[in-house]
Amino acid sequence: MSVISVKNLIYGYSKGTPFEKGALKGVSVDIEQGEIVAVIGHTGSGKSTLLQHLNGLLKPDSGDVLFEGKSIYESKKTLRECRFNVGLCFQYPEQQLFESTVYKDIAFGPHNMKLSEEEIKKRVYESLNYVGLSEDYLEKSPFDLSGGEKRRVAIAGVISMEPKVLILDEPTAGLDPMGKNNLLNLIKNYNEKTGNTVIFVSHNMDDVASVAQRVIVMNDGEIALQGTVDEVYSQGERLSELGLDVPEITSLFIELKKSGFDLGDTEYTVEGAKNAILSYLRKGGTL
């Protein structure tokens, strides 16, 4: 059974005004238990709007969202259950942070879940460690932090609930390169260790290539394309029509191929490119 099932979602903002905007125009998709799914798409394509439906923050004009087979909008109880199981981290951390200290902010979710103080404390420390912040931050106000530090606290606040479905809206935006790598590892580890599902939005085609098992491409309120990284990234022209781009390593590969080097399948990551080039050189006897 799919952990989340999205059925023909339609949603518009600013209804009844001249700016009425169809943000989702009939989106259907099934998310399987244990998947890592990346949602990509141009600015304003509807990614954040879609994500905010998955834990019931927005209510569709029509259509439905099922969590483990049951409509989340059915009753207060189903909505509440969904909120505990589907954790969403917003695009801007400022939308999420509100407590007076970092500790309280990260503890907020576990507290609502009525976990024991001991368990809450354990989770706060673990999550903080996960996002690469030291304990010195715990008593600080989340508003007195740098942009990247805020992002880390916001992510820790969702992870501390250990949600069955972890949803992150542009989690690597504003992180420094090491923080970004750690976060991508965190996504992988979280998925492997707990078997839980992760859905994340990213504009970084390299990041997506390194962790996603499935890629969903949004365009103007609809799903334009989906499949494995290979299936999606091999459609370079279609991607640029959709306002996207191939990863930098892929353009490097395309350059090399244009120069007449027959390197085989296109690669998306540095590691993949290294191996392909090495095997090419070995075959040609230049190494």
Partner: protein, 280 residues
């Protein structure tokens, strides 16, 4: 080259109970240059940026912006006429309830004539691909759309110097490329000095100068090539190098004699041709 911004032995902390965020920072910026500022989260980039246009004042030392002492409150307006700024979070700088008024706000404060403002606002909105949203409410836009509006605002101001704090963090790949091209055009065509804070190494590749901050200090300063060649040092402070160079380094470790410091895919392809030609 003319110095436009001068940090003289600047120390800064947000409150007396806290540690210094910037420690005896001395750093100059020059007219007509495109400077990228890199550094780990919390290294002091945004703090440094806010000291440039007097949003923050040093505890010790001096910041001179176009010769004006930023600690002198009377000079604040003069400073803001010279230096425009895009903040890290666009929500913090939305001032109007309609997109085009928001973009016009900066130029209006500079006392630019009406028709000229009209022209600049339209142009700026077209550059960031938000012209069709000109009558919308800026609060009711997607994350990347808000960021584009903030960038349009600074493009329309055309101040002598513009400071942008991670302006492309939420943009899609095409939007990011367009904004980078627009910033380089401002520099090349209007001679505007650009200071860009970013975590994207590929944005730094085309800069005239790269400044790397670490724990409140400048730890590297030079051309992109001079900085990126020191991959180990960069990694040790939480940063990285552009992907083509990372690939070249990895190949070298595996015994491939690829030379140079390729920072872009094209440069990589050129270096790669050389090794195969040498062998062949």
């Amino acid at each position: 080259m003319n110095k436009i911004i001068e940090f003289k032995d600047v120390s800064f902390r947000y409150s007396e109970e806290e540690d210094y965020v910037l420690k005896n920072l001395s750093l100059d910026f020059y007219e007509g240059q495109f400077t990228c500022v890199l550094g780990h989260n919390g290294s002091g980039k945004s703090t440094m940026a806010k000291l440039i246009n007097a949003l923050l004042i040093p505890n010790d030392g001096k910041v001179y912006t176009f010769g004006y002492d930023t600690a002198d409150e009377n000079l604040e307006i003069d400073i803001r006429r010279k230096v425009g700024m895009v903040f890290q979070n666009p929500d913090n700088q939305i001032v109007a309830t309609i997109v085009e008024d928001d973009v016009a706000f900066g130029p209006e404060n500079l006392g630019i004539p009406r028709e000229e403002i009209r022209k600049r606002v339209d142009e700026a909105l077209k550059i960031v691909n938000m012209y069709e949203y000109r009558r919308h409410e800026p609060h009711r836009l997607s994350g990347g759309q808000k960021q584009r509006i903030a960038i349009a605002g600074i493009i329309a101001m055309q101040t002598n110097c513009i400071v942008l704090d991670e302006p492309t963090a939420m943009l899609d790949p095409v939007g990011r490329r367009e904004v980078m091209e627009a910033l380089h055009r401002l520099k090349n065509e209007l001679g505007i000095s650009v200071i860009l804070v970013t975590h994207f190494m590929d944005e730094a590749v085309n800069a005239d100068r790269v400044v790397v901050m670490n724990e409140g200090k400048v730890c590297m300063d030079g051309t992109p090539r001079e900085v990126f060649v020191k991959a180990e040092l960069l990694k040790s402070i939480g940063l990285t190098v552009p992907k083509p160079l990372e690939l070249a380094e990895k190949l070298k470790k595996a015994g491939v004699e690829i030379g140079g410091t390729p920072l872009t895919p094209t440069e990589f392809a050129e270096e790669f041709k050389k090794i195969t030609e040498n062998r062949g």
